[in-house]
């Protein structure tokens, strides 16, 4: 009885878009994963910038020039949105983990607030720095 159908079960079925319509809960959740992976890339960029600053004037000029170009501005703006979104997304996970706000309506509201909050904080960051 314990070894029925072992190894032949569907693993983490990815059904969004195909069989399942997008909802605020699923959309806001998948965005947490995407922004988390994007932020690993942002961390690599930040560390490269620090490394070149520690290394030499020539190396720093290349990396600093890249991050401060128009292209760099766009990348950093998107990266900032991603990290703010992810902060709010993880905050939602912490709130859920405490057993609070688990009903669908509140979860959907928090999802909407994550998109709004990330956008507002990105604009504030762009103005402040």
């Amino acid at each position: 009885m314990p070894d029925v159908n072992r190894g032949n079960r569907p693993l983490s079925p990815f059904m969004l878009g195909q069989y399942y319509r997008f909802q605020m809960t699923s959309l806001s959740s998948i965005m947490v994963r995407i922004t988390g992976i994007v932020s690993l890339g942002t961390a690599v960029l930040v560390v490269l910038w620090l490394l070149t600053a520690a290394a030499s004037d020539e190396a720093f000029a290349v990396m600093d020039g890249l991050l401060r170009s128009v292209f760099g501005d766009i990348i950093l703006l998107l990266a900032t949105w991603a990290i703010w979104y992810h902060v709010f997304g993880r905050l939602r996970h912490v709130i859920w983990d405490f057993g609070w706000c688990l009903d669908v309506q509140t979860s959907e509201m928090m999802g909407l607030l994550m998109f709004i909050g990330a956008t507002v904080m990105t604009i504030l960051t762009a103005i402040a720095v």
């Binding site: 983490s12 690993l40 961390a43 930040v46 401060r68 902060v87 993880r90 983990d97």
Partner: protein
């Protein structure tokens, strides 16, 4: 078939084989980063835009240096767990194992390089 009851086989381990350790790490990391990250975003924003001399002087100060070191370590270990979890979900078999290791290697290298750079800048 092993002579174990279902309960005995599952107790304390869960499907990942390591119980709730990963989940607990994610929770601790999340709470830490919710507090650290807003500071880091503005500190990094202040550092970016200066000349190399200004950047070196900036990271020679204790607050930016310690905050950046702490955030890099906690954040990259957190993103590592997150990216590896995505690998576990979508990539299986040997490819999955190798990709899992590659993500870990990238994350640890980034942490080590970041801390090295900060020490060079601060000292």
């Amino acid at each position: 078939m092993r002579y174990l009851t279902d309960r005995k086989r599952a107790e304390g381990l869960g499907s990942a084989g390591q119980g709730t350790h990963h989940h607990w790490q994610m929770m601790v990391g999340s709470i830490g980063l919710v507090l650290l990250m807003p500071f880091f975003i503005f500190v990094f924003g202040m550092a970016l835009g200066g000349t190399r001399e200004e950047v070196i002087a900036f990271f020679s100060r204790p607050f930016p240096a310690v905050l950046t070191a702490l955030t890099l370590f906690v954040a990259i270990s957190h993103f590592k767990r997150e990216a590896q979890e995505a690998v576990e979900d979508y990539v299986h078999g040997t490819t999955g194992k190798l990709l899992h290791m590659a993500v870990g290697a990238l994350a640890w290298t980034t942490i080590a390089a970041g801390l090295f750079a900060l020490v060079r800048l601060a000292l």
